[in-house]
Every structure is written in C-alpha cells, then in structure tokens.
Symmetry: C2
Subunit: 191 residues, 2 copies
Amino acid sequence: MKKNDQYHHGHLREELLRLGLESIETAGTEGISLRSLADKAGVSKAAPYRHFSDKEAYLGALADEGFRLLCIDLERADVAGTERIASMGAAYMEFAVARPSLYRLMNSPLLCRLPDGSTPWARKSLLMLAEALRKVRSDPGTEPSLDVDAAVAAWAYIHGLVLIRIDGLFPRDLPAPDWARLAAAAPSLGA
Amino acid sequence: MKKNDQYHHGHLREELLRLGLESIETAGTEGISLRSLADKAGVSKAAPYRHFSDKEAYLGALADEGFRLLCIDLERADVAGTERIASMGAAYMEFAVARPSLYRLMNSPLLCRLPDGSTPWARKSLLMLAEALRKVRSDPGTEPSLDVDAAVAAWAYIHGLVLIRIDGLFPRDLPAPDWARLAAAAPSLGA
DNA sequence: ACCTGAACACCGTTCAAGT
DNA sequence: ACCTGAACACCGTTCAAGT
C-alpha cells in the first residue's frame, strides 16, 4: 500500500502485529503469512525475520496482543458485587464472538511451546478471572482462598461454551441454545 | 515405501485416511499434506484429487473417521446406572488425551463449513452424549425430556476441560489440577 | 542495527494426457 | 474410472550482501 522511501522502516515489529490483528478475522489464521504481511508493510519477504525468529514466534506475539485486548475488556467488566462473574463471563464471550480467529489463536497449543514469560498478558487475563472467582466465592469474614480446581472448572466451562459457538459445532438443525444465558450461568459452577 | 506395480491403487481413498490417522499425532495436523500422503501411498501428487475435492474435504473425512472411533469408545463406556455420565466423561477425556491432534481436528471450525450430512459420526457421538444425559436426569416415572441448554452446558464443560489439558493452557508453574476428578464432575452440572 | 535479493525446499491445485 | 507429468502460484526460511 503505502511505500516508505526510507530504507529502515522504524517500527516494523509493531506494524507487523498491527497488520496481523487487522487481517486475521477477514483472512483467517491460515491466511496469515509472513510474506504477505511483509508485502503489506512495504518491506522484503525476509525483513520479518529480523524481528521474529520464525512464524510461530510471530503468532505467539500476536496471541499475546490479543490477551492484552482481552484484559482491557475484562477490567471494564469487573464490576463490584455478586454479578461480577456473570459480567466478566459475558465480556469474555463477547470478545470471542467479535474476534473468533484471534480467540482461537490465543488458546491454541502453540502457546505452551513458547519460551517462558513470552506471553505476560495471557497470564494476567487468567489471574483476573481466578481473582474475581476467589472474591465471589469467599464467605464474608473468612480468608478468601483460591480453589484451583474450581477456577479451572469455571474456565473450562466458558472456554468450551465459546468454542462450540464460534466454531459452529452445534448442529444447525437443532434448536439453538441460549448462549447469553449459558454464559451467565458460569458462576453457579461447582458452588 | 511399498511401491505398487499396479497402475490403479484400488483402495486409495481408504488408504489416504488410514495414513492420515496414523501420522496425525506424530506429524501434527500442520504436518499433514496431500502431497506427502500421496507419496507414502505410492501414487502421484495429483492422485488424491480424484477422491477428495480439496484438502478441506479430506480433513473433514478424516475428522469423521475420528468421530467413528470416538463412538466406539463411548458405546463401551455407556454402562447402566447413575455413574453413566462420569464413565462417558472419562472415556471422552481419555480419547482426547490419546489423540490430541485428531481431537482438535474433529472440533475445528472446518467442520461447519462441510456439506450437510458429510459427518454422520460427529452427529452420532453428540446424540450419544445427549441421550445419556437425558436418561440420567429424568425422574423415575416421568417422561424423560431433552434439555438442550443442559446438554450444551455439560458438553461445553468437558470440551473446554479437555482442550485446556491437551493444549497445555494451564500455567506450568501453578499446582496442576486434578483432571480425572474434574472430568468426573460433569454430571453435577446445572442439575 | 536493520533490510534486500536470490535461492532452496516445500505446499495446494489444475489440466491435458495417458492406461 | 482412475492415475500421471508438468506447470502455476504460493509458502517458510536462510544467507551473503547491501545501507
């Protein structure tokens, strides 16, 4: 598109991530290639390799960008009171429905193959969910404790629900589930 | 490997699916290519296109092969009595842990882009889960009814749980969840 | 310190031609 | 009815060389 006259791009790393976020939903994750991204940024096919060791490293960085956006949405949904979890559950599903390809990438097996500490926002978002659950489930007056299994149960439920919806796994010819109601039902899990 | 002297392979379609099931876990889903499959079967790179319209159609057929295998395991786990769901939940998770790449393919967004009726075993496996849930939740004496939302809730929970486990999404430095106990907890959902 | 050009080994897919 | 050979347009990745 816009061709830079400068030899050095200056912000190529950021630009490649921006272009990835921009095109992942329309082109699909399979449609993202470092070559086409480089082309859009107006640099050569080899340029991205000065900023990412390989495609997997790039996709990992893109996934963490996604978690950064998710954290913003979760922060906003983290209202005080008992409907805290329902609110965050709704925000979680809304994020995934708005950015299905990005959500899939963020939760792909690629993530665990990345070097330790390379996805700080992924960790942050998970801790935000666990912390909200801890606050809600603690009896007043007692020390709130983090129940790992309960947190995983709630996470598994909303994660599975979101994927069944965005991946279109539920049969088309059966009566459609009430996705919003199901997402809001997360807090009652394992209580 | 073994080169056929015959010009016509005879069972190329079945052979390609067999080779796919055989190599998907070691090579990964990304590592499967129609070209390499054709090579292993001893035919030309173009031969697979006489049996599958494109790669997506092949992967769809491979996914349904996976559902056929899953149905066999679920049938075996469908014991009488109240622990029916716990037994099927355990079988479901065992299948996914044994064949993670195949499980991911079976539940990928690819499935809903396939022509209607092209994945009969996928449908069968889902109905088996719903039917088991229906039997367990019905009060004795009353007409058992299928609660779609309750079925989706249970499915979402076990699906999310399985994916968090096989995709390695749970942070390595936190105490590991009790996966088997969590899988067995599925029946208590939304009861 | 960052980028390019050319090259290598792979893909999916098509199509005229072979048996 | 089924398969091949050659071709086209793409990939990821490397590396000597340029600024």
